[in-house]
């Protein structure tokens, strides 16, 4: 009796042990393939779709208010900045003479956060400041207007997006200054150095 019972009880476990392993492998395989597919799917859209990113216009783009958030996009031969429902401001890419990419580190939270940090007792605000900063890309453009006058515009983008935009502009024939590399290495914010 026992001989017949024991294998009967153990065989189901042994039987299900193999499918569990197979199932785990299958799930891993599916996850990997989904990730790979997602990467493959995202690459063509970046290549085909026109570049568009949420940016902060710091200054200089004629017709756009300073320190405003908006969408910077490349459409055909035009670089366009759209701020909410207001009419878009655009510049021909052919008129862009130079593009520089830098890096900035800024405190997040704006004025409310600053006031909150100032009000925090026992220097608690300083501790918050230590962690409440974020790095951004700063894209600087030099372009000429219809009269030949030189303009400069500075945009603040999320980290990594500045390089994509710069590469897009370079692909469309915009010149990158020789001194840019050196300037990029020397971060705007975090490297204190005195030059005389």
């Amino acid at each position: 009796m026992n001989r017949t019972v024991v294998p009967w009880q153990h065989t189901p476990d042994a039987h299900f042990l193999i499918p569990r392993r197979v199932l785990a492998c299958l799930i891993l395989f599916i996850l990997c393939s989904v990730a790979a597919l997602a990467q493959n799917a995202s690459q063509p859209t970046n290549l085909t779709a026109p570049f568009s990113a949420r940016v902060t216009h710091l200054l200089g783009f004629e017709g756009a208010p300073t320190n405003t958030n908006g969408t910077l996009s490349i459409q055909d031969s035009v670089l366009q900045f759209q701020n909410g429902g207001k009419p878009a401001v655009e510049v021909k890419i052919a008129s862009v003479q130079n593009v520089f990419l830098g890096e900035q580190s800024k405190q997040v939270g704006g004025l409310p956060m600053t006031l909150g940090k100032a009000a925090a007792p026992y220097g608690g605000g300083r501790v918050v400041s230590l962690f409440a900063h974020k790095k951004y890309d700063a894209l600087t453009l030099e372009y000429v207007d219809a009269n030949g006058g030189i303009h400069g515009a500075i945009f603040q983008l999320n980290k990594g997006q500045g390089e994509i935009l710069r590469n897009e502009l370079v692909a469309k024939g915009v010149r990158v200054s020789q001194s840019e590399d050196a300037a990029t290495k020397q971060s705007t914010a975090e490297v204190p150095s005195e030059n005389k």
Binding site: G60, R126, E142, N147, A183, Q186, E190, E194, N195
Partner: protein
């Protein structure tokens, strides 16, 4: 005893009133004097100015700072109303402008600061800029030369130093005596 107390109270009140009201009057007088002497709009002929691109000199300054100084200078000089028109560098329309001054800016000193260090320590991390500003005629004659600086010590981003600098340059030019355009016609004719 009571009378002396009253007198002393009256004197004290008068002193306080004098202290409170006297300085604004004085400063108002100074401001009026400055605006009457500094504003060149009183004459019929007024200069126009062309802002040249910022020359980094020997200083390793970021392009964003150069561009920000240039743009802020164009803005701030326009606000002073000292000049008839403010032109940008390489503007072709300046060839037809008779009384044109050229503002040349050379960076002399630049200290890159850190907003985080300012927020954490308060005393360190300041962004400092010092430039030499020259107002020249077309012929190259320098009619005004000043060294101006702009800093951010406590609140604000690093680029705010460029705004402060441009405002100081505009203020300096506004308060300086610049010869009338008619006096320097030979210098313009030299070109």
């Amino acid at each position: 005893m009571k009378t002396s107390k009253r007198v002393s109270w009256i004197l004290l009140t008068m002193a306080i009133v004098t202290i409170i009201f006297a300085p604004p009057r004085l400063s108002a007088q100074t401001a009026t004097a400055k605006s009457s002497s500094g504003n060149g709009a009183s004459g019929a002929v007024q200069w126009s100015v062309q802002v040249d691109k910022v020359n980094p000199g020997d200083v390793d300054i970021e392009p964003a700072f150069r561009v920000a100084i240039y743009e802020n200078l164009v803005d701030e000089l326009g606000k002073t109303k000292r000049f008839q028109q403010v032109f940008r560098d390489s503007d072709r329309t300046t060839s037809a402008v008779p009384n044109l001054l050229i503002l040349k800016t050379t960076v002399q000193k630049y200290t890159a600061g850190s907003e985080t260090r300012r927020a954490v320590t308060t005393v360190s991390g300041a962004t400092k800029l010092t430039v030499r500003s020259q107002l020249c005629t077309r012929g190259g004659q320098v009619i005004l030369e000043r060294t101006v600086d702009g800093n951010v010590r406590f609140l604000g981003s690093n680029l705010r130093a460029t705004h402060n600098l441009a405002r100081n340059v505009a203020k300096t030019i506004k308060q300086s005596a610049v010869p009338e355009p008619s006096l320097s016609v030979p210098a313009q004719g030299a070109q």
